[in-house]
Every structure is written in structure tokens, then in C-alpha cells.
């Protein structure tokens, strides 16, 4: 066996240029695979983090009937005693915070904004003291200050503020229907602007204190949702199950972030699928290259093959020798590919690609504001490394079979 291996590797050095070109094709394919995987994984990890930190939390408790009616954002389908539940959760070591989300019309006055206007908004009323236990807005303040309890104030996402030309100190009026159907108008002062890394939130965020909202909307202590934070390492599904059993009989449902972010997951999967097809094509071309190279290698050595066979070397050994040779090309390609992949990863992990020109106005699904960064994925590199060797070996199997079908005298006569 050792002899076969050394034979194979010596044969590789016969045609250095050809070997390198074939290995090069493999290397490029692997590099692309590692690079794209790194970028997509980075995008996904950041998106999920931004989803959990700013949009869905790890899980959410809702009234049983809320989710199917969520487009209406009904105030009457609510959680009547959220504080009790939050206490129960806290005792079990789980952080939670209550929020009330409602839709309304925001009226802008020409005094502050230069022109009169109105637009549909979604208002998020938060527990000013506990919200940062679950969400991460604490680090995002850009201008002004955070909300204090019981004040008629609002906090805006920075892209939202930019789009409407809002500044700290401006006043806005929110017109909405309270819990019971009556109309209510709230005048709120913009006290702060946050720069939220989740672009979907940053574009539309409008926050106010929940106790203020509670008064205006006559919620009587109820809230529309309770948001839960679970540690990153937690098994979300089983924790959700646990919490659900804590609540049984209360007419409430616990939903994991995955259940709430179905559109994001579908998009991410679609992107993976698309890149998968492109990668497959690249590998197909590389496989054609390997096959071609091996064919040529065998063809030019038919006389040699005949000689070895006549000297008593078994067909199996010859096939193994060629497959090792192909594996050798694959090995060179894999090594080059992983090195190139690492270099490409260094770029995408530490520098990244700035897509802000694209992302500012378009919602492409990923929850990333500007820079796409990759992540180190040693698993992919290992997989790519072995894939390169494995595919090369596999592809070489077929041409060897053909060559061995020829009878020995014809081989020897071959020129």
C-alpha cells in the first residue's frame, strides 16, 4: 500500500502544470464555498441576534386569540395580569417584560416638521424599567435620553426620525382607539432617538412608556404581550414548553421567536437554496476538470499500465493507485482552497462588505443595517477540505474502469 501511495504521488510530479491547473479549479470552488458560507452564516447569526434583541425577544406570551388576529393589533385580546406572570417567571430565573403594541395615526404639525402630515404607525409601549432586561435598546441611544415612567414622551428609531425629519424636542400626536373603542389623542414629546442595528425596527420604531399608554387606552393594567429572554445556549423549544406548562389554564400561548419570524426564516432558506445551486454548478465544472485530467493521465500511460499489468500488478491495485493520484490532486486543491478560503474569510470577518447603500431603503429580509460580516466556520472548512479530496477520488473511479477493460497486449502496443 505504501508503494502505491508513493507511486501515485511521484506520478503527480510528472505533470506539475496540469496538476496545478486542475487543483486550482478545485481550490477556487472550495474557496467560494467557504466564503459564501461564512458570509451567509454571519448574516444569519447577526439577523437572528437582532431579531431576538430588538424585535421578537426569545419568546413571547400572548393571549390565545392574539396571533391569528395580530394584523389588527387588538387591545381587547390581552393579558389581564401581566405583572403576576412576570413575577412567576422571575422566580424561576427567567427575565421578562410587558409591552403593549397598538396601531394609530401619527399627526405631524407644520410648526416642528415644516409641513402638516399624517401616517400610520405602530406604537410600542414599554415598561421603562424592565424593558432592557429582555431587549437591548440600552446601548443604542443616539440623541436625547431614554423614556422615564409615566411621562408623555416618545422614543424614535433613527432611520424613522431621519425619514420624517424629527428631532429631539419635537412634538407628535398619536390618534388611536383605546380599549373599548373610544378615540384618544396623545401628545408626546420626542425625548430620544436610538440607532437600532435591526433595520426593520430602526425604520419604524416608536416607543412610549406603558403606564402612560395604560392611562390613555384604559388598559386597566393589562398588556398585549409579555416578552421573554432566554440564554443563547438554551433549547428554545423545550423552554417554551416549560413556560407553557407554567401558564396552563390562563388562556395564554407562548410562542418562540422562530414561530414569529417565519418570513425571515423562509427568506434565509431561499438564499441558501439559491447559493446552493450556484455552488453545485461550480463543483460540477471542477468535477469535469478532474475527470478530464485523470483521463489524460491514464491515456498517456496506457503502455506503462500494460507493462505493470503484465508484470503481475492486479487491476484493483492499479485502480487504487490512480484514485490515490486523483486524491492527491484533490488534496492539493483542498489545501489551496482552504488557504484561499481562510484569506477570504479574513476579509469578510474583519472587514466585511458595506451594503448600506442597498439596505437603507430596501428591506431584503436580513436584519442587518449596513455591514455584512462573515463568521469563522471551521466545520465548513473541514467539510470543504474532505469534500475536495472525496469528490476527486470518486470522479477518478470511472475513467480507470474503462482503461482496465483493454487487454494487455493492446495496452503494450499503444503508442
Amino acid at each position: 500500500m505504501k508503494f502505491l501511495i508513493s507511486l501515485a504521488f511521484k506520478n503527480l510530479t510528472r505533470y506539475k502544470r496540469r496538476t496545478l491547473i486542475t487543483a486550482g479549479a478545485i481550490a477556487i470552488g472550495l474557496m467560494m464555498y467557504i466564503f459564501v458560507d461564512s458570509m451567509l452564516m454571519g448574516a444569519e447569526i447577526e439577523s437572528v441576534r437582532n431579531l431576538k434583541w430588538f424585535e421578537t425577544a426569545s419568546a413571547r406570551i400572548l393571549n390565545n386569540d392574539y396571533w391569528k388576529n395580530r394584523f389588527q393589533r387588538p387591545l381587547d385580546i390581552n393579558i389581564s395580569e401581566p405583572d403576576k406572570i412576570i413575577d412567576k417567571l422571575n422566580k424561576n430565573g427567567i427575565k421578562a417584560t410587558k409591552r403593549t403594541v397598538f396601531s394609530g395615526d401619527m399627526i405631524l404639525n407644520s410648526q416642528d416638521f415644516g409641513e402638516d402630515g399624517n401616517m400610520a404607525v405602530v406604537v410600542t409601549a414599554i415598561d421603562t424599567e424592565k424593558d432592557n432586561d429582555v431587549f437591548h435598546f440600552g446601548d443604542t441611544l443616539l440623541e436625547g435620553r431614554f423614556l422615564k415612567p409615566n411621562e408623555d414622551a416618545a422614543l424614535l428609531g433613527s432611520w424613522f426620525a431621519e425619514d420624517i425629519g424629527a428631532k429631539v424636542g419635537y412634538w407628535i400626536t398619536i390618534v388611536t382607539r383605546g380599549n373599548g373603542g373610544f378615540y384618544e389623542a396623545m401628545d408626546l414629546e420626542i425625548v430620544g432617538i436610538v440607532n437600532c442595528p435591526n433595520p426593520n425596527v430602526n425604520r419604524a420604531l416608536l416607543m412610549m412608556p406603558i403606564d402612560t399608554a395604560n392611562e390613555y387606552l384604559a388598559m386597566d393594567g393589562a398588556s398585549t404581550e409579555i416578552n421573554i429572554k432566554l440564554p443563547d445556549s438554551a433549547d428554545v423549544e423545550s423552554e417554551v414548553h416549560k413556560i407553557q406548562s407554567m401558564l396552563n389554564g390562563d388562556g395564554l400561548t407562548v410562542m418562540s421567536w422562530k414561530a414569529m419570524a417565519v418570513d425571515y426564516l423562509a427568506m434565509a432558506e431561499g438564499k441558501r437554496g439559491g447559493t446552493g445551486i450556484i455552488m453545485f454548478l461550480i463543483f460540477l465544472i471542477a468535477a469535469v476538470g478532474i475527470s478530464n485530467t485523470m483521463l489524460m493521465a491514464i491515456f498517456e500511460r496506457i503502455r506503462e499500465l500494460g507493462m505493470m499489468r503484465s508484470l503481475g500488478m492486479s487491476d484493483k491495485k492499479i485502480r487504487i493507485a490512480f484514485m490515490i493520484e486523483a486524491a492527491g490532486i484533490g488534496l492539493i486543491g483542498s489545501v489551496m482552497g482552504v488557504i484561499l478560503g481562510i484569506l477570504a474569510d479574513i476579509f469578510i470577518v474583519y472587514v466585511g462588505i458595506d451594503y448600506s447603500f442597498l439596505l437603507r431603503d430596501m428591506d431584503i429580509g436580513y436584519r442587518i443595517q449596513a455591514i455584512f460580516r462573515g463568521v469563522w466556520n471551521p466545520g465548513t472548512m473541514v467539510a470543504a477540505f474532505f469534500a475536495g479530496i472525496f469528490i476527486s477520488t470518486l470522479v477518478a473511479y470511472f475513467p480507470t474502469k474503462r482503461a482496465l477493460r483493454m487487454d494487455i497486449p493492446s495496452c503494450l502496443r499503444h503508442q
Binding site: 470552488g29 388576529n69 423562509a266 461550480i282 483521463l295 429580509g365
Partner: protein
């Protein structure tokens, strides 16, 4: 001499059919992939253009000069005077059709809850010339002028659990900056190709919208389509001058390409894909390079003979170059034929991206149809052949340096 070379080159390719096929297939696969890719993008771009021109901006859009600056505020009071404007537009020869529109945010009051939706006030008889509303109508009929009726996006109706015959009360801020309400009966459900239009919009007759929103004879915008072969940008500025002179209004009149950033980005993406194409072709070329090297090695004695007979190195290079070129041409042609086949086959049903795009707000339809462009396909063909045969030059040129005496010694 070249025709003999060409004939010889062709015959040489058939010497080792399997090898030629393998080399050609690498190029073929690349060509096939690229043709399909460009068709997909072409389809997307065309689709976006169509959607923009039909539902969002027309080819030329007329708005109050200050509207865009405050667009997010939905400043309905910044209007375009319909009567005087339409009179002028009617007489501009380059214009094919035009329609007035009022797009406004509103709240639908259903069973005690509010639901935000966008309303579009439109003149349905004029719209009939602008777009094919009937094929977008999934159920029921179009609302009639003068009646308190609406047609709703099918997805919106589904989400709100409404059907034809239901009455909906809508509330909005008016152009006078007060609020008003009106109750409309749903008489039809529509499905436009762009997802958001079906999940967030309803359409009502223009005159009722004007009344309800206290527009006082104004409209929010006028969408114009120009006649075929008219330069859209030039038309836009001509219309601007006409309207300024004849109605005294300072208006914001721009062509659709100037209005959409996303379309501009699509055009940029096109450039990127040209680079991706180069990459794929180069990758496929590595196989031909290897093959050519092998071919030269195999035919060493022949090269020696030809040299002894008095053939110059340059002519030898040409011979191998031609062989590589022919393989590229045939491989690429087959690849392109396959690409065309795939495009046409996918084009029958389209690619359904509805799920993947459900969270996105893009002016692209959820179902994408790849579109073949003859010009682009021919471009891809020459692109791939040029790159691949260019690649064969590298090993071919080595043939010129071979000394006949050395070559003749090969077995």
C-alpha cells in the same frame, strides 16, 4: 491556407471524441448557467419596470412640487389641479394615456378594531386604457364612479376575514387636515403581481375619494405613459414646460427611471453579473487549457513532422488555437441551447418566491419569470467563446517554441 487549417482542426477534434466532449462540456455548463442567470435577472428587471410603470409611477409622474420632500407625511393637501392639468395633457401628442391617482393612508374600522391600509382613488374608466384591471380582478367587479364602493386586495380581505358584499368604514386624515369617514361596500377582490399591493391596498372611485378627502378638485398625482419610441426623459421635461406655461403650476415631473432607486440598483447588479459570468467562463476554460496541453503532447511527433515539412511555429499555434476555438464554439452553443431550454421550461410556470419574499417589500412580483433576451444570449455566446479560446492561446503558443528535431524523438 487557413481553410485547410480549419478543416484539419475540425477533424482533429473528432480524433478523441470523449475528450473533446468533456472539454466542451465544461464551457457548456458555464454558458448554460449564465444564460439562465441573465434571463432570470432580465425577467426581474423587466418585471420591476412593468410594475413600476403600471402601479407606482407610470412612465412619467406628475406631482405637486413639494410633495416628494414630505412624502412620508402623506401631505394630501399638496395637490395637482386635475381639471387644468388634464386639459393640457390631452393635447400633448407624445402622451399615450394618463390617469389620476390619490394614494392615501387610512384606517379600516372593522368590528371595533382599527386596521391600517392604503387606499387608492382611481378613475376606473381611464384606468382601463392604462392597465388591464380585468385580468387582475379575482372576483366580483370594478367599483363604479359615483358609488361608495371599493375593491380590496385579495390577501388583505383574507387577513381581515372580509368578502364581497361586506361594508367597511374607512377613516382618514383629509386634505384639510381634519378627519373624515366613509363607508364603502366591497364589490371586487384583486390580485396584482406585487405582494404588498394585495395585502395592504384597496381601490375606490376617484370622485368619491376626492369628496371624502376634501381634495377640492385636486389629485395627488398623475401617471403618464408616452407613445412608443418617445424618449421618456425628454417627454418629461416637455410636459413640465407645457404644464408650467399653461396652468401656472410648479410641478415635480420626472421619468420613472429617475424616480426609482431600486431599479437603478438592478442595473448595477447587471454589471456585477457580468463579472460573475467571466468567473464562470474562466473556470470552465481551465479544462480546455488542460486538454490543449495534452493534445500538443500527444501529437509531438506530428508537430515535428509539420515543422520538418516547413510549417512555421505561428501556423502551428493557429492550428491548436482553432481546435480549442471549435470546441468552445460547439460546447458553448450546446450549453446555450440547454440554457434556453431551461429558461423556457421554467418560464412556463415561473419560480415561486412568494414564501421567501413574504417579508420583503420589493417592487418585484412574487412569481418570477425568466425572460430570454436574444441580444444578451448572443452576447453570452461570444463572451464564453472568446474567453475560452483566449485561454487556449496560452498552451497553444508553446507549440511555436517546439524544435522539430526534439519533437520527432517523441514516441
Amino acid at each position: 491556407m487557413t481553410t485547410k487549417l480549419a478543416k484539419t482542426a475540425l477533424r482533429n477534434i473528432s480524433r478523441n471524441k470523449r475528450r473533446s466532449i468533456l472539454s466542451g462540456s465544461a464551457i457548456g455548463i458555464s454558458a448554460m448557467a449564465i444564460v439562465f442567470l441573465f434571463s432570470l435577472i432580465g425577467g426581474m428587471a423587466d418585471d420591476m419596470a412593468f410594475n413600476l410603470k403600471t402601479y407606482y409611477t407610470g412612465e412619467v409622474r406628475v406631482r405637486n412640487a413639494k410633495y416628494d420632500e414630505f412624502e412620508r407625511y402623506n401631505p394630501l393637501h399638496l395637490t395637482v389641479d386635475w381639471k387644468s392639468t388634464s386639459k393640457v395633457l390631452k393635447n400633448i401628442g407624445d402622451i399615450d394615456v394618463y390617469v389620476p391617482r390619490i394614494t392615501f393612508p387610512s384606517n379600516l374600522y372593522i368590528k371595533g378594531s382599527n386596521f391600517g391600509a392604503m387606499g387608492v382613488g382611481a378613475d376606473f374608466s381611464m384606468e382601463a386604457n392604462f392597465q388591464d384591471l380585468n385580468s387582475s380582478l379575482k372576483a366580483g367587479r370594478l367599483p363604479q364612479t359615483g358609488k361608495n364602493e371599493m375593491m380590496m386586495g385579495a390577501v388583505l380581505a383574507r387577513d381581515l376575514k372580509l368578502k364581497i358584499g361586506d361594508k367597511v368604514t374607512i377613516l382618514s386624515t383629509t386634505a384639510a387636515r381634519g378627519t373624515n369617514a366613509i363607508t364603502l361596500k366591497i364589490v371586487g377582490l384583486f390580485a396584482f403581481p406585487v405582494g404588498t399591493l394585495n395585502s395592504k391596498y384597496f381601490w375606490m372611485p376617484l370622485d368619491r375619494a376626492q369628496y371624502f378627502l376634501r381634495m377640492d378638485g385636486g389629485v395627488q398625482e398623475v401617471l403618464i405613459k408616452v407613445k412608443k419610441d418617445v424618449n421618456v426623459k425628454k417627454a418629461a421635461s416637455a410636459i413640465n414646460t407645457e404644464l408650467l406655461n399653461k396652468t401656472g403650476q410648479t410641478l415635480d415631473i420626472r421619468s420613472w427611471e429617475d424616480l426609482s432607486t431600486t431599479y437603478g440598483l438592478m442595473k448595477m447588479a447587471d454589471m456585477v453579473y457580468n463579472f460573475i459570468a467571466i468567473f464562470f467562463f474562466l473556470l470552465g476554460s481551465t479544462v480546455i487549457i488542460n486538454t490543449t496541453m495534452m493534445v500538443i503532447f500527444e501529437r509531438m511527433r506530428e508537430i515535428g513532422t509539420l515543422g520538418a515539412l516547413g510549417m512555421h511555429g505561428k501556423e502551428l499555434v493557429r492550428l491548436f488555437f482553432l481546435e480549442g476555438t471549435f470546441i468552445s464554439m460547439i460546447g458553448s452553443a450546446i450549453g446555450i441551447a440547454a440554457g434556453i431550454g431551461i429558461t423556457l421550461w421554467v418560464g412556463r410556470t415561473g419560480l415561486d418566491f412568494t414564501d421567501a419574499m413574504s417579508g420583503m417589500d420589493f417592487e418585484i412580483s412574487a412569481i418570477m419569470y425568466p425572460k430570454l433576451s436574444a441580444a444578451k444570449t448572443i452576447f453570452v455566446y461570444f463572451y464564453s467563446v472568446i474567453i475560452a479560446s483566449g485561454a487556449t492561446l496560452i498552451p497553444s503558443r508553446k507549440a511555436a517554441k517546439i524544435e522539430p528535431v526534439d519533437a520527432l524523438r517523441y514516441i
